[in-house]
């Protein structure tokens, strides 16, 4: 009897310990809700996964420059942007792998800017993409492929190893969003209504080597094959940002790759006039990213390509989809009106 009581009390203590450990661990992790909100983008998708015609992958050049709301409003295209800051090619591959377990889009759009980076850039960027990913083989893969030399795999498994010293830096956000989340994007699109006209840019520097790294091609190949296996069309794009420079040598390599594998490639940086972009009005940070006005123009331009050249159909007649998107559009327009005030 006494033995049973002892076992029971040990069990209770153990459970209490585990609950306390998990709670503290959760409290100490960054929430990415109001500060560094880009860290929440990856997990917003899980609440929206399924039934998208188009999935975008890439870095800030996707989540700042294309508006899925406009794609739907103008063409009835359902799209979601799975973009994260400094998303590298191998990250895009693993995020695509994870996405295909959730749904099979007709088109996957990959922004090629990341081809210029052959190595992980920094732990901070890794965290923004990986921290909030759900556990799966894809998350394991992305961690192993992305870690810098100073990072430890275990710190992703047990985030408390990384964030234990945040005790004295906890803010209201950590408590408010301990058990709740909010959306920071509209289908992955980060809305900016501000205007900061493009100004001075650094000179175009000579590079020692313009060739993309082998690892970038390796993962681009894997992404292409993954799309083929799922019957999804892969489209390559380059967003129309003024900086960092997209060198002619970079462009030539992507054109060659696209030609070799029969892929479509659109370098929108070369089509700013056709798109109607005005970098005095259509950017929120001096030409690095588009603001709402610029994103609307680019989305309308690209939407037409998706319909005319890639046969995407209008989903607005589908009552289930229309019900969801009409509600989203209402909220989208409300937030825009509010931020313009």
């Amino acid at each position: 009897m006494k033995k049973r009581r002892n076992i029971l009390s040990i069990g209770v203590v153990l459970i209490a310990f585990i609950v306390a450990f998990l709670l503290i661990s959760k409290l100490l992790q960054p929430k990415y809700m109001t500060e560094l909100e880009e860290g929440s983008f990856i997990s917003e998708y899980y609440r929206e996964a399924g039934n998208h015609d188009v999935i975008f992958l890439g870095d800030c050049e996707v989540y700042a420059n294309y508006s899925p709301m406009e794609l739907y409003r103008d063409y009835g295209i359902t799209a979601y942007i799975r973009g994260t800051p400094q998303q590298l090619v191998w990250m895009s591959y693993y995020i695509a792998e994870e996405t295909f377990r959730q749904e099979t889009p007709r088109v996957l759009v990959f922004n090629v800017n990341a081809m210029r980076y052959s190595e992980p850039v920094s732990e901070a960027y890794n965290r923004l993409t990986i921290d909030k990913m759900r556990w799966s083989a894809s998350k394991t893969g992305i961690i192993l492929a992305s870690m810098t030399e100073e990072e430890q795999f275990l710190s992703y498994v047990f985030p408390i190893l990384r964030y234990h010293s945040r005790f004295d830096q906890l803010t209201q956000e950590d408590f408010t969003y301990l058990f709740q989340v909010k959306n920071n994007t509209f289908n992955g699109f980060q809305l900016h209504t501000e205007v900061e006209p493009a100004g001075a840019l650094p000179v175009k520097r000579v590079l020692a080597d313009y060739r993309f790294g082998d690892i970038c091609y390796e993962y681009l190949d894997k992404l292409r094959v993954l799309c083929e296996e799922n019957g999804t069309k892969l489209i390559l794009v380059k967003a129309p940002s003024l900086y960092p420079y997209w060198y002619e040598e970079y462009d030539a390599q992507i054109r060659e790759y696209a030609k070799k594998h029969g892929l479509s490639y659109y370098n929108f940086a070369e089509q700013t006039d056709e798109i109607g972009l005005d970098f005095a009005a259509d950017t929120y940070d001096g030409g690095y990213h588009l603001n709402l006005s610029g994103a609307n123009k680019l989305s309308r331009y690209f939407g037409e390509i998706l319909v005319e050249e890639h046969g995407l159909s209008d989903q607005r007649q589908n009552p289930n989809i229309a019900a969801v998107y009409d509600k989203k559009l209402q909220e989208y327009d409300r937030i825009i009106a509010e931020s313009m005030r």
Partner: protein
């Protein structure tokens, strides 16, 4: 009572386990590392009078003497990668661009002079020199190298104590370096840089 002791013991074990992990960062530190979160760092006003000129000059001189570093002087102002600048004493520049930092995260200021670009990284109140990039073929380095000079010219000025990777030559002094990119044995890019 026994239960409480067990809990305290387990908490102690957990604390020990977690405290010996890698150096932790706050979201504040992460924020410093992320380009797009540094919206607040808008700055760079153009003015040319100087209060701290002597202090900065003395700091620069100490850096040069103590560590043996590359430096570049222009219109009486010496730039040392890793040293600070005083915006009030900067020679007149034509423009300044604020760009996401490649080396540090956050934002860099790129001051454009007629013959070169000065890249600084903003750290709180200070601006740290990250690089001096040559634009004008007529502008010599401190030791006399210009864009368009040959590899032989480079070796005669800086010697053979360089590291070479394909077409890039790098001379290192302390935490500073002089990087020269060549095409057909001719210098097409010259840059003083902080190695970090």
């Amino acid at each position: 009572m026994k239960g409480i002791r067990k809990i305290l013991f387990l908490c102690g074990v957990a604390w020990t386990l977690t405290a010996c992990g890698q150096e932790a960062a706050s979201t504040g530190n992460l924020a410093q590392d992320i380009n797009m979160s540094a919206d607040g760092q808008k700055s760079a006003e153009k003015s040319v009078d100087g209060d701290n000129k002597e202090t900065v000059a003395a700091q620069q001189e100490n850096l040069k003497e103590d560590e043996g570093v590359f430096s570049f002087a222009y219109e009486g102002v010496t730039f040392i990668p890793g040293g600070t600048i005083d915006k009030k004493t900067l020679p007149k520049y034509t423009d300044v661009a604020e760009v996401p930092s490649c080396a540090f995260g956050g934002n860099d200021n790129v001051y454009q002079f007629k013959a070169f670009e000065l890249t600084t990284h903003v750290e709180g109140e200070e601006e740290i020199v990250y690089s001096v990039y040559f634009v004008d073929p007529n502008l010599p380095t401190t030791e006399g190298l210009r864009l368009g000079d040959t590899v032989d010219d480079m070796i005669s000025l800086y010697g053979e104590d360089y590291e070479m990777e394909e077409n890039v030559y790098a001379y290192t002094r302390g935490e500073t370096s002089l990087n020269i990119i060549t095409q057909n044995d001719v210098a097409v890019s010259i840059e003083y840089r902080l190695e970090k």
